[in-house]
């Protein structure tokens, strides 16, 4: 019994340590004072109003959306191809190929970022949002593959065979059977990679050139103390958006599992 109580205390402390700083963001976002510190001085929404008129921030937001959407689409397309290949076919060097695709998941991002800068500059590709998209696809594709592999694994192979047997071509089978059944996985992959891209800082910072993405913009604002409450309120909005996206992704992933007839929580879930 005693042991159980200590474990509870430990878990609680652990959770507070992780989430308290994050939960402080929305609190200070509504605080009246220009100094981000306790005690709170009063309620205000002026920081959010300020955001509304910050045009540089809006540009950064658009940049981030552009990068995020492009990354989500590309990494999901690549992820779909790789996941289908790895779950349906056996070929030489499959394990090695999959291993190398998944590697960026554990590679330090700063190393990836520096390497990309060197290579892109050598190749004559200027640092730009496009370069950021390339970097983000590299780190998002493993996540897409993990989600989509689970979707494809849950798909009963005989469903595709039944479609062929009933007279459909392999091409229309993909659109009438495979795609509808893995669609929730695809949506989930789009949302996860978009979220990752939206939050990513290091690669964006190295590759972005003159157009900042939102995290890069936030970092640049941190140098001015006066701008801090604005950054905090922007941070809370981002937090909210990420949370909604992740929950939506998880919802679609579970629906994918359910649709494919497997109730159990498959692998590839992040929540």
């Amino acid at each position: 019994m005693r042991q159980g109580r200590w474990l509870k205390v430990y878990s609680l402390t652990y959770l507070v340590f992780i989430y308290a700083p994050v939960l402080l963001l929305p609190i200070f976002a509504f605080n009246d004072s220009a100094i981000v510190a306790f005690p709170l001085t009063g309620f205000t929404t002026k920081w959010f109003e300020e955001l509304w008129s910050a045009t540089v921030m809006h540009e950064a937001l658009w940049n981030s959306l552009y990068v995020g959407i492009a990354t989500a689409v590309l990494s999901t397309v690549f992820g779909t191809c790789a996941a289908r290949a790895s779950t349906r076919f056996d070929f030489r060097g499959k394990k090695a190929a999959m291993g190398f695709i998944m590697l960026p998941l554990v590679l330090p991002e700063i190393i990836v970022a520096v390497a990309l800068v060197v290579v892109l500059v050598q190749m004559g590709i200027s640092l730009s949002l496009f370069a950021v998209v390339l970097g983000h696809v590299l780190i998002c594709t493993p996540f897409s593959i993990a989600i989509l592999s689970s979707a494809f694994n849950n798909l009963d192979l005989s469903l595709e065979e039944a479609s062929l047997d009933l007279g459909e071509t392999p091409f229309s089978t993909f659109f009438r059977v495979t795609l509808p059944l893995v669609a929730p996985g695809i949506v989930s992959s789009l949302l996860i990679s978009f979220t990752i891209s939206l939050d990513e800082f290091i690669i964006a910072f190295f590759l972005t050139g003159t157009d900042p993405t939102l995290p890069v913009y936030i970092w640049s604002q941190l140098r001015f103390t006066a701008k801090l409450p604005g950054v905090v309120s922007l941070g809370s909005l981002l937090l909210l958006a990420s949370l909604i996206l992740l929950l939506a992704a998880e919802y679609f992933r579970r629906r994918a599992n359910k649709k494919a007839g497997t109730e159990g929580d498959g692998t590839g879930g992040f929540l």
């Binding site: 005989s158 062929l164 047997d165 459909e168 009438r176």
Partner: protein, 368 residues
């Protein structure tokens, strides 16, 4: 093997072999002819290659060697979607994202029928499997037995030349399975389509089929009608796979116009009629086989048999309608099983006693 299709043959399987990488699923070339309109079963233990053969007929796999012809047309390289066959999968493979109507009409889209005709054919197919009125139901809300019927309707609606069934009843409980066996048999007679069934359940194969191919380790061991398979199995292995059979060591002593003379342990010298000796039984040392119901217990003096012997009763198992006696025959190490129907007035003997056992020439088969 001539390559001209004989009359009434719908599927011609010729010297077919299949290898998956290094693993041979079907080793020696398989030859078989499936007749138009028959209920044909591929029966064998798991891993004997029966499903592989079925998948090659469906076009989901291609033979490594040999050829399969349907209606005389070579099918090698013809994909599943261009073959006149449809399949009921073991898992049923009902599309979970489509409702019952969409599942059954799935294959009709290619035929470019008007909407009313599609609806008419789906209704007809659902009526055939007693699922009328279920069109709008979500397929994942249907029970195992119902899913199986949907799979049947989905295949039959396309009016295939051949319907392939891969262990269609194995996922159902015993009662439903027995009911479906009868229904499937009726359905097959009704539609007149050739059915090819894969099963590991010998009673399923016996009750439904016109002919059965018994397969072991990638070979067809015997291809015959259920009755012939049961009464005249050609090998010990086939005999013990289908039903129960007592085996006795035997040695061939001679051959006469009447049949083969053999000295059988426990049964003594006998003449086994020619039709009860398969062609490939050669050499001196063979095995004699007798089904439990082909021997009888002689309860009193008035009952007689062509041949008889005194035996000790080792064990009695009572099944209600039947009793199974384990008997020790003189000169025979193994126990012999004899089944008796418990008709009115017939006693049930106790273990430890002895009883006269009778049989005739027709009871015995020789096996390789």
């Amino acid at each position: 093997m001539s390559s001209t299709p004989s009359a009434g043959t719908i599927i011609d399987i010729e010297r077919v072999e299949k290898r998956f990488g290094q693993v041979a699923a079907l080793k020696k070339g398989i030859d078989a002819r499936i007749r138009e309109g028959e209920f044909f079963s591929l029966l064998g233990p798991s891993g004997c290659g029966k499903t592989t053969l079925l998948r090659m007929i469906a076009g989901l796999d291609d033979p490594t060697v040999g050829e399969i012809r349907i209606d005389g047309k070579p099918m090698n390289g013809v994909p599943a979607n261009h073959r006149p066959t449809n399949m009921v999968f073991q898992s049923y493979a009902i599309f979970p994202h489509l409702n019952v109507f969409e599942n059954v009409s799935y294959g009709l889209r290619k035929q470019r029928l008007v909407k009313a005709e599609v609806e008419r054919r789906v209704a007809e197919a659902l009526a055939m499997v007693s699922l009328s009125g279920y069109e709008k139901r979500a397929s994942h809300a249907m029970s195992g037995g119902q899913r199986q019927r949907i799979a049947l309707a989905r295949a039959l609606v396309l009016r295939p030349r051949v319907l392939l069934l891969d262990e269609p009843l194995s996922a159902l409980d015993k009662q439903l399975r027995e009911q479906m066996q009868i229904e499937l048999r009726h359905l097959q007679r009704e539609v007149g389509i050739t059915f090819v069934l894969v099963t590991h359940d010998q009673s399923e194969a016996l009750t439904m089929s016109d002919r059965i191919a018994v397969m072991f380790e990638g070979n067809i061991a015997q291809l015959d009608s259920p009755e012939m398979l049961y009464r005249r199995p050609i090998s010990k292995r086939v005999a013990s796979f289908i039903g129960v059979m007592n085996f006795f060591p035997a040695s061939v002593t001679g051959e006469s116009a009447k049949g083969v003379e053999a000295e059988i342990a426990g049964l003594g010298p006998m003449t086994v009629p020619k039709q009860q000796v398969p062609k490939d039984v050669t050499g001196r040392e063979v095995t004699a086989g007798v089904r439990p119901e082909m021997m009888t217990l002689l309860f009193d003096e008035t009952e007689t048999a062509e041949r008889e012997v005194m035996a000790e009763i080792d064990d009695v198992v009572y099944y209600g309608d039947m009793s199974y006696y384990s008997l020790r025959l003189p000169g025979c190490e193994e126990l012999t099983t004899v089944s008796m129907r418990n008709t009115a007035g017939r006693p049930i003997l106790k273990e430890g006693g002895s009883v006269r056992v009778g049989w005739g020439q027709e009871s015995v088969v020789l096996l390789s």
